[in-house]
Amino acid sequence: MTAENLVEIDAVTFGYGRRLVLEGINMRVPRGKVVAIMGGSGCGKTTLLRLIGGQLRPTSGAVRVGGQAVHELDRDGLYALRRRMSMQFQFGALFTDMTVFDNVAFPLREHADLTEDMVRDLVLMKLEAVGLRGAHNLMPSELSGGMARRVALARAVVMDPMLVMYDEPFAGLDPIAMSVVGSLIRRLNDALGATSIVVTHDVVESLQIVDYLYFVAEGRVVGEGTPAQIRATTLPVVHQFVHGEIDGPVPFHYPAPTYDEDLGLAQARAEAAHA
C-alpha cells in the first residue's frame, strides 16, 4: 500500500456461483483523482464498486481502501469505513418518502450529533453547490432525472467523504444535464479534496472530466491510461468502445449455432440435392 493510492485492487476474482464476473483485476486509484471504470453493460463494473464498498467480498485477491482490507472487516468496521465513503446510485436512490432537504440531511442526522440549525446550514450549502437550494422543499417525485441525480450528488458529499463512487451517473440524462453532472463531479472532487471513482459507459463525457480510465471487458482490465492515451490508443477493444463501432472484439451477435443450421438451410439443401 502506497500513501498516494486511496484504493488498491489486487488480483481480484469474483463470481456468482461458478460464473466468474471478474478475473484477476488490478487497479489503483490515486488520492485526489477522478478515475473512470468503463466498459459495456454487464461487464462487471458495478460489481467492482460493490467490492470496494464492501457489499460483496472477492472470491480471491484483496481490496484495500485507505490502507484497510475491506473484505476482512466485520460489520462495525465496514460501517465505520462507509461513513468516510459514499456512493451515488444509478437512478439516485433518493428516499421517496422524504423531501429533498431531508434526503440530503439524512446522513448528517443519522451520524453527526448536530443541532438542527447546523444541519440546515450544511444541507443548504451542499444544495447550493449543485444549484438546487431553491428545490429543497420538493419531493423526489417532483424532480426531473437530472435534478434527482444532482440531489443524490449533494447527499453523497454532505459528510465530506474521502471517497465518492458514482454508478452510471450519466445514464438516461439529456446532454445539458450530463455536462452539469459531469462538471459537478469534477468540481466537488477538487473542492472537497476527495477521490472519485466513476463507473460509466459514456465515453465522451468521461474523457472530459477524469484523470485516468480503466477499460473492463469480460471481467478483465483490457486497457488503461489518461484521456489523451485512450484517445490515441490502437487497442482494438478500447478503440471499438471509444468510437462506438458495432462489431469488433465485442461481437454484435450473441453466441449461437450457425445461421444455416438454425434455419435448417443445410438440411434443406441436402434434401434438394438428394431429390
Binding site: 464498498g53 459514499s86 446510485f89 428516499f95 421517496t96
Partner: protein, 265 residues
C-alpha cells in the same frame, strides 16, 4: 403417465421444501428484527411515525367494519335468542363474540390487507429502487431504520385497533338491539357487564391481537425485504403477504383459542 406423476410429485416435494425454507428464513428474519430494535426505542419518534401510517390510517376501515359486524351480530343473535325468550342476552352475545373472537381475528385480517400489503409494497419498492442498499452504504442499517420501526408500530397498533373494532361492534349491537328492536337498555348493558370477564375474555382477546400483530408485521416486512426487485416481484410479495397473513391469523387463532380456553370456566 408415470413420468407426469413423478414430475408432479417432485413439484409437490419442491414446494414443500421451499415453504419450510421460507418459514425458517422468516424466523431468522424475526430474530434479526428483534436484535435491531434498539434504535426504535432510542428514537421512538420513528415508531410513532409508522404508527400513524399503519395504525391511524387503518382506523376508518376498522371502525366501519366493526360497526357493521356488530349490527349483523345483533340481528342474527336476536333472531335466535328470542326463540328461547332470552333476547335480553343479546348484549352478552355481541360482546363475547367480539372481544374473544371476531374483534382480534377480523381486525387482524383487515389490518393485513390494509396495512400489511402497504408495508410489503413500500419495503419492496424501496429495495427495487436501491433505497435500502443506499442506506446500507451510508452505514445506516435498513433493518434498524426501516424494518424494526414498522414492526413495532404494527405490534403496538394491532391490539388498539382490535379494541376499537370490538367497541364499535358493541355499539353496533346496541344500535340494532336497543334502538332498532327495542330490547331493554338496562338489561342489555347490565347482562353484558355481568357476563364478560376482564381476565378471561378481554385479556384473551388482547393476547390474541398482540400475537396476530407480530405475525402480520413479520410476514409483511419479510415479504417486502425478500421481494425480487421487479414489478412482478413486488406484486407477488404483496399478494403473498395477504394470503400468508390470513392463513397465519386463522391457524394461530385455533392454537390460541385452544390453549387460552383451558383455564376458562
Amino acid at each position: 403417465m408415470l413420468e407426469r406423476a413423478r414430475r408432479s410429485l417432485a413439484r409437490i416435494g419442491h414446494n414443500f421444501i421451499e415453504n419450510i425454507w421460507r418459514v425458517g428464513a422468516m424466523t431468522r428474519f424475526f430474530v434479526m428484527v428483534l436484535a435491531a430494535s434498539g434504535t426504535s426505542f432510542r428514537r421512538f419518534r420513528l415508531v410513532m411515525r409508522e404508527v400513524y401510517f399503519t395504525g391511524v390510517q387503518s382506523l376508518i376501515i376498522i371502525l366501519v367494519s366493526g360497526l357493521f359486524i356488530g349490527m349483523v351480530l345483533g340481528l342474527q343473535g336476536f333472531e335466535t335468542l328470542q326463540k328461547y325468550g332470552a333476547q335480553e342476552s343479546i348484549g352478552v352475545l355481541v360482546a363475547l363474540s367480539l372481544v374473544r373472537e371476531l374483534g382480534p381475528v377480523v381486525s387482524a385480517l383487515l389490518f393485513a390487507s390494509r396495512a400489511g400489503s402497504a408495508i410489503t409494497a413500500e419495503i419492496g419498492l424501496m429495495k427495487a429502487t436501491e433505497q435500502l442498499t443506499a442506506m446500507d452504504m451510508m452505514a445506516v442499517s435498513p433493518m434498524a431504520r426501516v424494518i424494526a420501526p414498522r414492526f413495532w408500530a404494527g405490534v403496538i397498533s394491532m391490539p388498539m385497533l382490535a379494541a376499537m373494532f370490538s367497541a364499535m361492534g358493541v355499539f353496533g349491537g346496541y344500535l340494532v338491539g336497543v334502538v332498532l328492536i327495542g330490547v331493554d337498555n338496562g338489561a342489555f348493558w347490565s347482562q353484558m357487564q355481568a357476563a364478560v370477564d376482564f381476565r378471561y375474555d378481554v385479556m384473551n382477546g388482547v393476547i390474541k391481537s398482540f400475537v396476530f400483530g407480530i405475525a402480520v408485521t413479520v410476514i409483511a416486512t419479510f415479504e417486502g425485504f425478500d421481494a425480487p426487485p421487479t414489478a412482478e416481484g413486488v406484486s407477488g410479495a404483496t399478494t403473498r403477504t395477504v394470503v400468508s397473513s390470513a392463513l397465519a391469523i386463522l391457524a394461530l387463532d385455533l392454537v390460541l383459542t385452544a390453549s387460552l380456553l383451558r383455564g376458562d370456566h
